[in-house]
């Protein structure tokens, strides 16, 4: 039996994540924040439509692109020595120390409670069109999956193959992959909540909601 309290204590012991902000593409970088130590905000708004704190800009082909802090936290490090220089895609620009939110803490614990269906190979994954339509219309949690059900299309090198779900019957609780993003083999694609686990899931959510203290 999974001990939710113990899982929560484990996360509380190390409630941080360090996130590196990298140049999304090439260009000349100008830092908006040059000193570490300040606080940065992540995206906000009901649809996350408001971007977070601008940490830098990249100029490419006479277009300025603002690089935002993708997540709330403390600015732990800024690579200010790059200011004014041309950087390659993927160049680290700064480091954000992020304190886990309630929902992230819940997600982290749910990954240990839900049945995770993993990517069998590195590929881009899509739900098959019928399931995709249903998820878009009703949300993933209204989609039930069962053993052997053809659920995904794995796209690798432009070749596609169907991937069937294996595992207990239940509802899709969490979708871990993003459209057009490669997923490494062994990474979870979906978290499925078997009917027998619904109580436990509610327990996890309730426990974190009451015990987790969010930081500003």
């Amino acid at each position: 039996m999974i001990d939710v309290k113990q899982l929560l204590e484990e996360i509380k012991a190390s409630p941080f994540e360090e996130i590196e902000v990298v140049a999304p593409h090439t260009g000349v970088v100008r830092f908006a924040l040059k000193e570490p130590g300040g606080k940065v905000a992540g995206p906000s708004g009901s649809h996350l439509e408001k971007p977070g704190t601008a940490v830098a800009t990249l100029e490419r082909e006479r277009n300025l692109k603002t690089v935002y802090a993708g997540i709330k936290g403390d600015l732990a490090k800024v690579y200010a020595e790059l200011d004014g220089s041309f950087v390659e895609a993927g160049t680290p620009l700064c480091l954000i120390r992020h304190f886990l939110t309630k929902s992230e803490a819940i997600d982290s614990i749910l990954k240990k409670v839900l049945h995770l269906f993993y990517a069998p190979e590195r590929a881009k994954y899509f739900f098959i069109p019928e399931i995709d339509k249903k998820i878009k219309a009703l949300g993933a949690r209204n989609v039930k999956v069962r053993e052997g059900m053809e659920l995904f299309i794995a796209s690798r090198m432009k070749r596609e193959r169907p991937v069937a779900y294996t595992g207990p019957e239940g509802q899709i609780y969490t979708v871990y992959f993003q459209y057009e993003q490669n997923v490494d083999a062994g990474q979870p694609l979906i978290g499925v909540c078997p009917e027998s686990q619904v109580g436990l899931i509610q327990d996890v959510v309730g426990k974190v909601q009451s015990d987790w203290e969010e930081r500003d």
């Binding site: 593409h25 895609a89 070749r159």
Partner: protein
């Protein structure tokens, strides 16, 4: 890598780009070795024109070579390169020619206007299901009238290429499902739902004509024909042979020499009509009775250019490098020779060595290459981006091509014998993440060598 080597041969400076997935690729190491760290720049995607142009500006480049894919046939990219504020030279045909010939339908219309035979079928991308069904029904009826026992219609993604997104349909009843599948595939992969519907020509040979034109479009020469009929089940080329047929060594049910002459003449007629001004390939299908149909024009240098180069001599000199010629002419040099200065000697075979499983519909294999070695020979040219001194992880973002081996012989028989000798000496080993051994198409290439250029 061949573009970098051609620049080196021409004494030109260059910079190259790579993505995170391609970090271990040989072109990165070669670029660093030839021109230093600063000439190799990591970008976010090969599909992003802004990335390529910003790197070109940063490095002070004066021209852009688009390689074999992605932007090579994108007229918008070519136009942007040549018409932006800091103008660059696009190494390829002028954008108007790419636009004109890159449109398969336009090419078909132009060809028909010049009396060049083309494949029956839709004359533009189809987006409407009912219209698609009508075209398919017409093609099935037409083939039945022609006495074809098993009529077949080809459904292909209009924006696709390289044999991807193509399916065959045998009955009108199954057409709708296939149409929808290809349309959905096209939307996912190419962001364009347009589908082409054509008559499927059975048992054809896939031939190509290599064309080269100088800027201005007045000087145009050809470097003969290639036969690219040995393909995977997904219609991906695996062996290319120059010349396209060998009537002196193989018997055909038609006048093969005349067919080769006809497709060269037809290709040149179109090239002259549009003032073709760089490297390009005219793709043909030839039916078992020797009827050629123009499939399309690839307005770019193709991977298999080397097999045409290896059988070519210019003014009696071998060692022809068509990529170097393409760059030289693209930069505005005069051709410096005419058709009578180009001689085609012997036979060439190009093997595409790929990590894939021919027994499983050529499924790509992904894993780590631990050892890759072969025996060198004066009649062999080998091109590979796989590091030979360190293990190499195949990135899944791109096709698992490992190498091109190009073999020359004084005739087809000698080229085939040398091809088998080469393939027998290749050492290739590796394993995937679960420890299964590497799969490659080496045995497929060996098996197919016996029937090269045979056409029954």
């Amino acid at each position: 890598m061949r573009v970098a080597r051609a620049c080196e041969r021409l004494g030109l400076d260059f910079a190259c780009v790579y993505t995170a997935s391609d970090e271990q690729s040989g072109h990165v190491a070669l670029g660093r070795q030839l021109r230093g760290d600063a000439s190799v720049v990591r970008i976010q995607s090969y599909h992003d024109a802004n990335e390529i142009l910003s790197v070109a500006d940063h490095c002070g480049a004066t021209a852009v070579h688009p390689g074999y894919g992605f932007f090579a046939e994108d007229f918008r990219f070519a136009r942007r390169v040549t018409e932006r504020r800091r103008k660059l030279i696009f190494i390829g045909p002028s954008w108007k020619i790419i636009q004109s010939l890159g449109d398969k339908i336009n090419t078909k219309r132009l060809a028909r206007s010049l009396g060049v035979p083309t494949v029956p079928g839709s004359d533009r991308p189809v987006y409407d299901e009912l219209e698609a069904e009508e075209i398919a029904a017409t093609l099935f009826a037409f083939q039945s009238e022609q006495g074809i026992e098993k009529p077949l219609v080809l459904v292909k993604a209009s924006a696709g290429g390289g044999g991807m997104g193509i399916e065959e349909v045998y009955t009108i009843d199954k057409f709708k499902n296939v149409y929808r599948r290809i349309r959905n595939y096209a939307k996912r992969q190419f962001h364009d739902e347009g589908v082409l519907i054509e008559q499927r020509i059975h048992h054809f040979n896939h031939l190509e004509v290599q064309i080269l034109g100088a800027r201005g479009g007045a000087d145009i020469v050809h470097f003969g024909t290639r036969n690219c009929s040995i393909q995977s089940t997904g219609r991906q080329k695996r062996i290319e042979v120059a010349p396209g047929f060998a009537p002196a060594e193989v018997s055909y049910n038609f006048d093969a020499a005349k067919v080769l002459g006809d497709i060269v003449d037809h290709s040149l007629a179109i090239a002259r009509e549009v003032g073709y001004d760089n490297a390009g390939t005219w793709e043909w299908m030839v039916t078992p009775v020797g009827q050629p149909f123009l499939m399309e024009v690839n307005t770019r240098i193709q991977v298999e250019n080397g097999v045409s180069a290896i059988v070519s001599k210019i003014k009696g000199q071998g060692g022809v490098d068509l990529i170097a010629e393409q760059i030289r002419l693209g930069l505005g040099d005069a051709m410096g020779y005419g058709q009578s200065d180009v001689a085609l000697c012997g036979a060439g075979i190009e093997y595409r060595i790929i990590a894939e499983d021919p027994a499983a519909k050529f499924a790509p294999w992904v894993g780590r290459i631990d050892r890759f070695a072969w025996q060198g020979a004066p009649w062999l040219q080998m091109f590979t981006h796989i590091p030979l001194d360190a293990p190499y992880e195949i990135p899944i973002e791109y096709d698992p091509n490992l190498a091109l081996a190009i073999i020359w012989g004084k005739d087809l028989a000698e080229a085939k014998a040398r091809g088998l000798e080469f393939l027998g000496g290749v050492e290739l080993a590796g394993q995937d993440p679960v420890g299964s051994p590497l799969r490659s198409n080496l045995s497929f290439l060996r098996e197919k060598t016996a029937s090269i250029l045979e056409f029954h």
